[in-house]
Symmetry: C2
Subunit: 188 residues, 2 copies
DNA sequence: AATTTTATTGTACAGTTGTTCATTATCTTC
DNA sequence: GAAGATAATGAACAACTGTACAATAAAATT
């Protein structure tokens, strides 16, 4: 059972139109009506695929999060999940974030919904789970697993939020260094 | 120069009406129109005070964040800003969060805008800044101050996010313990 | 208490939203 | 390639949105 070509065409048109509109205006000011006009899609059809404009963006961002996942994965693979052995050159996430700067500016905008944030958080969390289960010389000190992970995973995003606050100006090499120092200082 | 009584009355009516509506429906489904109907405020007047329904909620939440600030402040005052000497009984934030559970469920909802999150984050950040400037036996290991703070401040919210995920069921005593273990493990 | 300043109201308007339904177009499968 | 399935369209609807402006009401100031 293949996916209907019409569906693919419709959704692609909408996403493409969104990207076009984002060049001249902010996400929250884009209406469903103008998106459909540009995409040449009937407005009634829109609701068969997406809930609102944020939902279209989400579909887009999911692809980017997959790229984030790959970037985040790299040091885990390079160290065979002994993340303590990580070196600055293995880190790829800040490269990724800077590459998709235009998107992350939207993700971290005060008006954007939290959903995008959780997409990133869940991605990091997933890797930490694996890492902590595999990494044998980790010491847990009687801390609940879920809280431990959420604590450290969200800390990582703290760095990205700060990068956002600094308007993405901090050099990647500095960020890589900082990350290493921050997380190695974290485990005993 | 005092504040006009009419303004106070209008804004209070709107906030009160919002609280009433929140008992039966979610924030995102509440329209400006029905809010004004209930508050008996002309819809045109609404726009003189708030941008949208989320903005009214924000005004409300600002009061709650002030309470959060006080709760967060407590261990800092009790330890005279030597936060390493903190004990579980000094911690008040999880008490606070559970008390205002109904609000935090909205704050951390995927559909809610990031603004509320940043209100909390900025509050924590402010205290960490003070704490790190005052606390003399802290070792910084050549980490950029802003990144250090954002990292640790956001980590704290990670715990609250996990509490949210657990549907606010984790006992306060456990949370207090976890927090101590997590942050003492963090500084060298 | 009278005057001035400022906020609220009522009305109107064009545009958006979310939904429904019959009709048409297009894809999949046999 | 024909038949059946499914998606897209167009039109219509009531409700909501954001804004404007003149008229009115209610504050603050003197």
């Amino acid at each position: 059972m293949k996916k209907d070509l019409r569906i693919i065409k419709t959704e692609e048109s909408l996403r493409k139109a969104l990207l076009t509109l984002l060049k001249t205006k902010t996400l929250e000011t884009i209406t469903i009506s103008e998106l459909c006009r540009l995409a040449q899609i009937n407005r009634g059809t829109f609701y068969l695929h997406y809930r609102d404009v944020y939902d279209v963006f989400r579909h887009y961002f999911e692809v980017i999060v997959e790229d984030f996942r790959k970037a985040y994965e790299k040091p885990y693979l390079n160290t065979n999940f002994n993340i303590n052995n990580m070196t600055p050159d293995m880190i790829d996430i800040f490269n990724h974030v800077k590459k998709y700067k235009a998107f992350y500016q939207i993700i971290f905008d005060g008006k954007s919904p939290m959903t995008y944030y959780y997409l990133v958080l869940d991605t990091i969390r997933k890797f930490m789970e694996e890492s902590l289960s595999i990494d044998n010389n980790a010491v847990y000190l009687d801390v609940d697993f879920d809280y431990l992970i959420s604590y450290h995973a969200n800390a990582i995003i703290g760095i990205i939020i700060e990068l956002h606050k600094q308007n993405y100006t901090t050099p990647i090499e500095i960020l890589n260094e900082q990350l290493i120092k921050l997380i190695t200082n974290t485990r005993s």
